[in-house]
Symmetry: C2
Subunit: 639 residues, 2 copies
C-alpha cells in the first residue's frame, strides 16, 4: 500500500503566507473601458487632464453680469442692464459682458467673458432688451468656476485604488474612457484523485464528486482572480505532469488540491520538485498539514489539502493574501468577528488549529459554535460561517473564551437559530424563513437553549415515569426564560422496504440474523424511543438490555436524519430503521407504525412572537403522518 509521506521543511502558517507574499510581484497593467472597470484596481495615479468644470458655469437660470455693476441694486432701487445675449447649457456664449450689460444664461451654461456672477431670474424683470435687477450679487455668486471642482494637473485618483461607482464617475468627468488597471491573476485549478468524478457526470461505484475545483474557483473569484478549471487528474505521474505544465503555460498561479491518499501528496511533491523549487512542504496547522508550494518558472504552484473545508481554510489564510497582493490590494485579513466559544475545543499539540465555526448573533455579542464534523465533511461547508484559530501553544480553549472568527464571506446573521431534533416537515417550513438550522438531536437542542445559544429547539423526549413528552425533561434540565410550545404529533414507526420482503412485523424482528438495522445517534428522540421499545423487549425476553442490542446487526450504524434512515433502507444498506412516516413516504417505502409522539418547540421567551409565526405556518396543511393535538400552537409550559 502507499508508503507514509514524511514532511520535510515544515513551516508555520504565518511563514507559509509570508513566503508566498515574497513572490507576489504585480502582474502588470491593462487598459479597460470605464464601463468594464467596476471593481478593478487602478494601476497608475490619475492626473486630471482637464478642469472640472471646464468653464465658468452658471448654477442657476438668470443673467450673467459684472457683479460690481449690481452694487446698490434692491427691490426699491433696481438697476437696469442692457441684454446683450443668451446662452443655453451645451452652447457657447457669443460675445462678452461689460459693466451695465447682462447675458441671459441657463443653469449649466457657460458664463460669457467679462461676467463674474449670475443674478437669479427670480430677482429680475425683462422688457425688450432691458433687464431690471432687484438684488446685488457678489463676484462669483451662482457661478461654479472652471477647475474649482477638479483642477487640471491635480492627482485625483491614486494607483491601487479600487474602482467603485465614485471613482468611475470621476474618470468619466475627466473624459477618460480607458483606464489602466492591474491585471487580474489567472488561476489554474487542478483536482487530483482517482476517486473523483466531475459534477454532472454519472457517479460510478466508489466514486465521489470533485468539490475543490468549484469551491476554489469561487474563492478565487471572491479574491479578484480569474479561475480556470483544468478538471480532474488521475494519480499518475505523466498525466499529472502534463496537466500541470498546461495549467502553468496558461495561468499566473496554479492550485492543485490533493486527493486524500498519501500517494498523491507524494506525487505532487516529486513533480513540483522536479519542475521547479519547492518553497515549503508541510505546514504546522491542522487541518492543512500537507499544504505545499513551489515556484516553477517564476510562477507559484500551491498544493492544497484534498478535504474541501481544509482546502478552503488554507486558501483563505495562505493563498488569498497572495492573490490580493498580485493585484496591488494590500492583503488585509478577512473580516473578523469577536465571539465567545460555545464549547471547549482542543488545540493541535504544537500545530496551529483551524476550526470551522457557525457564528450566532446574540444580544450580548456573538457565539462561535465549533463544528466537530470530520474534516472531510461537506456539511461543514454548508454551515460554517468562518473559522477560529487556536495557537500552537494552547492545549484547550474553554467554553466562553473570546475568539476571533475569520469569515469566509460577508456575514449575514440569521434572524433565528434553531438547534435540535430534525423533523422533515418542520425543515421545509424553516427553509422559507431566515433561520439557521443545526440538527443535533433533542438533547443537544435543549442544552443549547439552556446555554442561551439557540433561539428555539425541536424536541421529542418522553419521560418514562410520567409518560409526558418534553416538559419534564425541560424542567429537569432547569431551563429558564423559555417556553415549551406544542407543535404536533407525528407518527413514528419502522421504515421498511417496499413490499416488506423480509417480512418484518415489529421491533423483535431486529434480532434476526438476516435483518440489518439503521440507527440514529444517541441524544436523538428517535434513538430514545427505540431503546424504550428494546428495554420492554429485553424485559419480556428476560435478557439484559446490553446483550440484546449486541444481537442487532447495524445497531451501531447511525445516520443523522429521518430522511437518511429512509435513504439507507431505500438503497438496501439496511432493511429497517426507525423514523417518521413522512420520511418513509418521501422515499416510497413501507411503514410499520409504532405510535404517535409529541414533537414540540422549546422557545426563548424573547422570540416567541417570531416563532409563533413559524408554528402557525407549520400547522397548516400537515402531511400524512402528522396531526394536531390539543396543545398545538399553545404554551405547554413557561419558566
Amino acid at each position: 500500500m502507499a508508503k507514509r509521506v514524511i514532511f520535510h521543511e515544515l513551516v508555520s502558517l504565518d511563514q507559509a503566507s509570508e513566503i508566498l507574499l515574497k513572490f507576489a510581484r504585480p502582474l502588470g497593467e491593462e487598459e479597460v473601458d470605464i464601463a468594464q472597470a467596476y471593481g478593478r484596481m487602478l494601476a497608475r495615479d490619475i492626473t486630471a487632464p482637464i478642469d472640472v468644470p471646464p468653464f465658468d458655469r452658471s448654477t442657476v437660470d438668470g443673467y450673467a453680469v459684472v457683479a460690481e455693476a449690481t452694487y446698490g441694486a434692491s427691490e426699491l432701487t433696481p438697476v437696469e442692464f442692457k441684454l446683450v445675449g443668451r446662452v443655453e447649457a451645451g452652447d457657447w456664449p457669443a460675445g462678452e459682458v461689460k459693466p451695465g450689460e447682462a447675458f441671459e444664461v441657463a443653469t449649466g451654461a457657460p458664463l460669457p467673458r467679462g461676467a463674474n456672477a449670475v443674478v437669479m431670474v427670480e430677482f429680475t424683470q425683462t422688457r425688450g432688451d432691458l433687464v431690471k435687477i432687484f438684488r446685488a450679487v457678489a463676484p462669483g455668486e451662482n457661478v461654479m468656476s472652471a477647475g474649482s471642482d477638479i483642477s487640471a494637473g491635480e492627482v485625483v485618483l491614486r494607483h491601487c485604488t479600487k474602482l467603485t461607482a465614485r471613482e468611475i464617475g470621476v474618470l468619466a468627468a475627466l473624459g477618460l474612457r480607458k483606464v489602466p488597471v492591474m491585471k487580474r491573476p489567472i488561476v489554474g485549478i487542478i483536482s487530483t484523485g482517482n476517486e473523483l468524478a466531475a459534477p454532472g457526470e454519472r457517479l460510478g461505484p466508489g466514486m465521489l464528486y470533485d468539490v475543490n475545483s468549484y469551491s476554489l474557483a469561487a474563492a478565487v473569484q471572491e479574491a479578484g482572480g480569474l479561475p480556470v478549471i483544468y478538471g480532474i487528474v488521475r494519480d499518475e505521474e505523466s498525466s499529472y505532469k502534463s496537466a500541470l505544465l498546461k495549467a502553468l503555460s496558461e495561468s499566473d498561479v496554479v492550485l492543485i488540491s490533493g486527493g486524500t491518499s498519501a500517494g498523491v501528496a507524494d506525487l505532487t511533491y516529486r513533480v513540483l520538485g522536479e519542475l521547479g523549487d519547492v518553497l515549503f512542504h508541510g505546514v504546522m496547522v491542522r487541518p492543512g498539514k500537507p499544504t505545499l508550494a513551489a515556484v516553477i518558472n517564476g510562477k507559484i504552484v500551491v498544493g492544497l489539502p484534498g478535504y474541501p473545508s481544509s482546502a478552503l481554510m488554507i486558501f483563505h489564510t495562505v493563498v488569498r493574501p497572495f492573490l490580493l497582493k498580485l493585484q496591488c490590494v494590500e492583503p488585509s485579513p478577512p473580516a473578523v468577528y469577536k465571539a465567545k466559544l460555545a464549547y471547549g475545543v482542543e488545540g493541535a499539540k504544537g500545530r496551529r488549529a483551524l476550526y470551522p465555526v457557525v457564528l450566532i448573533a446574540r444580544k450580548d455579542g456573538y457565539k462561535a459554535y465549533p463544528l466537530y464534523a470530520e474534516s472531510g465533511a461537506i456539511s461543514v461547508l454548508a454551515r460554517a460561517d468562518g473559522y477560529i484559530v487556536i495557537p500552537e501553544n494552547v492545549e484547550f480553549m474553554t467554553e466562553g473564551e473570546e475568539v476571533d472568527v475569520y469569515l469566509f464571506e460577508k456575514f449575514k446573521p440569521a434572524e433565528l437559530y434553531f438547534i435540535g431534533s430534525h423533523d422533515p416537515h418542520l425543515d421545509t417550513i424553516l427553509a422559507r424563513h431566515n433561520v439557521k438550522t443545526v440538527y443535533v438531536g433533542s438533547m443537544g437542542g435543549l442544552m443549547s437553549i439552556k446555554r442561551g445559544e439557540a433561539d428555539f429547539a425541536g424536541t421529542h423526549i418522553l419521560d418514562l415515569e410520567t409518560g409526558v413528552y418534553n416538559v419534564p425533561v425541560v424542567q429537569r434540565l432547569g431551563i429558564k426564560g423559555a417556553a415549551v410550545i406544542g407543535l404536533y404529533r407525528r407518527e413514528q414507526g419502522l421504515i421498511i422496504q417496499r413490499g416488506n420482503p423480509k417480512g418484518i412485523k415489529g421491533v423483535e424482528d431486529l434480532l434476526r440474523d438476516d435483518v440489518v438495522y439503521v440507527n440514529r445517534p444517541r441524544g436523538t428522540g428517535t434513538r430514545a424511543l427505540l431503546d424504550i421499545h428494546l428495554s420492554k423487549l429485553a424485559q419480556r425476553l428476560g435478557t439484559p438490555f446490553e446483550e440484546l442490542i449486541r444481537k442487532i446487526r447495524g445497531y451501531t450504524y447511525e445516520v443523522k436524519t429521518h430522511t437518511a434512515v429512509a435513504a439507507a433502507v431505500a438503497q438496501g444498506r439496511a432493511d429497517v430503521g426507525m423514523g417518521v412516516r413522512y420520511a418513509a413516504e418521501l422515499y416510497g417505502l413501507d411503514f410499520i407504525p409504532l405510535g404517535w409522539e409529541e414533537y414540540d418547540l422549546v422557545v426563548r421567551v424573547d422570540v416567541l412572537d417570531k416563532v409563533f409565526e413559524i408554528v402557525r405556518e407549520a400547522l397548516e396543511n400537515l402531511p400524512r403522518g402528522y396531526e394536531k393535538y390539543e396543545m398545538s400552537g399553545r404554551v405547554k409550559w413557561e419558566g
Copy 2:
C-alpha cells in the same frame, strides 16, 4: 426661458423606497453552470439527490473488518484475520467480509459489504494472506458512513441563498452541475442633457462629460444588476421617447438621470406620464428633490437627479433596495458606521437632507467630515466615503453629534489623514502612501489638527510681526500634542503666460485694466502672501487696501490649487496668478519670483514616525522651485 417646474405628489424618501419595493417582483430563474454561479442567488431549495458520502468510506489506510471480531485484540494478544481482498480509493470492493476476515482498504476507499470498522495499518502486521491485529476497534471506527455528512432528501441549501465558495462546494459534492439562480435585472441607463458628451469624445465648448451613465452602471453592478448604457439623449421629446422605449424593450428597469435644466425634468415627467403611470414626482430630500418614478408596462423607470453625487445617493437609498429585492436579496441598508460630526451642518427645512461625508478613523471612534462642495461637484465623488442623513425636523446638527454614516462601498480607512494646504510636489509623494488628502488651505489644516481630526497638515503662514513661518500661528491657535516639522522652502511668485505678452513685472501690474488675475481662496497661505504684497503696495500708494483690491480684475476669482492657477493662466481665463514655480513649470508658463516661503508640516505626535518617512521621501530629488533649509526634516516646535 424654461418655465419653473412644480412638483406634485411629493413623497418622503422612505415612501419613495417603499413604493418601488411594492413593484419588486422577482424576475424568475435561470440555470447556470456551478462554475459560473459565484455570487448568484439560489432560486430554489436544493434537496440532496444523493448521500454524501455515497458509500461507507474508510478515513484511514488499513483493514476493514467486522468490529465485533476484534474485541480483545491488543499488543499482547493480537487476533489473526484472513486477508480476503483489497480496494483502493475510486475502486469498488469485490467480495464481502465475514467475522475473522479482513479487507485491505485505502483512505477514501469504500468499505466492503459486511465490514463495519477499519483497523489502522499502524496496528497490524501482514504475512502472506494473514493479518495480525493488535488493537480492537468499535463499530463505525475510522468509517464515514454513507449519508452521514449529507443525507439524500435533506434540504441542504435554501432559496435566496447567496452562492459563495462554500455553497458551490456543496452543490458540487451533490453532483449538481447546473443550478437554478435568480435572474439578474438588466438595468438600462440613459443620461439626458444637451451639454453632455461621452467620455473619450472631444469636449466641445460649453460641454461637460457624462458622469452618471458610468457611475450608475458601476452602482448597478455593485447591486448585482447588469447595466446597459444607452448613452446620452438630447433634451428633445422624440429622441427622448424613442431612447426610453428602446431601453424599456431591452431592460427590466430603466434609470434616467436628468440634465440640470428644469426643462429636462419637465420632459421626463411628461413622457413618463404619457407612456405609463407616474408613481411619485418629487421626493422631500435634499439633494434629490426632482427624483421621480413611473411604471410602464410593468417595468419601473426611475428619474434621478443630474448631479452625480445626488444621483448616487438617491440610487443608494431608493433604487438599490429595489434592485436587490428583484434578486430576492432582502434589502438591507448599506453598511453603517457610527461617527461623530466634525462640523455642524444645517438641515433642509422640512426635507430630509443627505450630506456626503469623509469618514476618518480615530482611536476613539470615527469622525464624519461633511463635504460642503456644491452638489454638482465631482470631487465629492472622489472623496466621500458615504453620506449622513439629517431628519426632516432637525434644523441643525452640531459638531460632535453622533451620526450614522451610510457607506457607498466597503470602507477601508486610510492610514493617515492629511488636511491642509495644497503643495503639488508633496501631493505626488502622498499619492504613493495610504494617505487621504483634503485640501482646505493652511488655516483649515491647522484647525483640523487642533480638533484632532487630521494626522498632519501642510501649512505656509507667515507671521507678519516676527517674520517667522508657521510656528507662531500654531502657538497662537493653542495647538497641543503636535509638532511642527520643517519640510522645505518653495518659490512663490506670479505665474504668467509664456513670453509674458502683457509685460507684467510685479504685483503693481494687477491694478491694470487689461490684466485679469486668478486668486486663491481666503485661508490659503498663498492668498495671505498676496495680501501682504498688496498691503505694502496700498501703503506705498496711500490707497486703502479695500479700495485697492476692488481695482484688481479677478481678485474674487478663486481656484483651489496651485495647478488650477496655472491652468487658468495657460487657458487664457486669466493673465496672472500667484503660485509656486512648480505649477508654472508643469504648464510650461513663465514665472516672476517673489521670494521663498517655508512650507512645513504640523504633525500629531503619535504619528511622527510615519510622517517622517514621508518627509524623507519628499526631500529626495526636490524639483526646481523647492529647496531644503536648515530645519528641513527637523522638529521646529513641539507642544
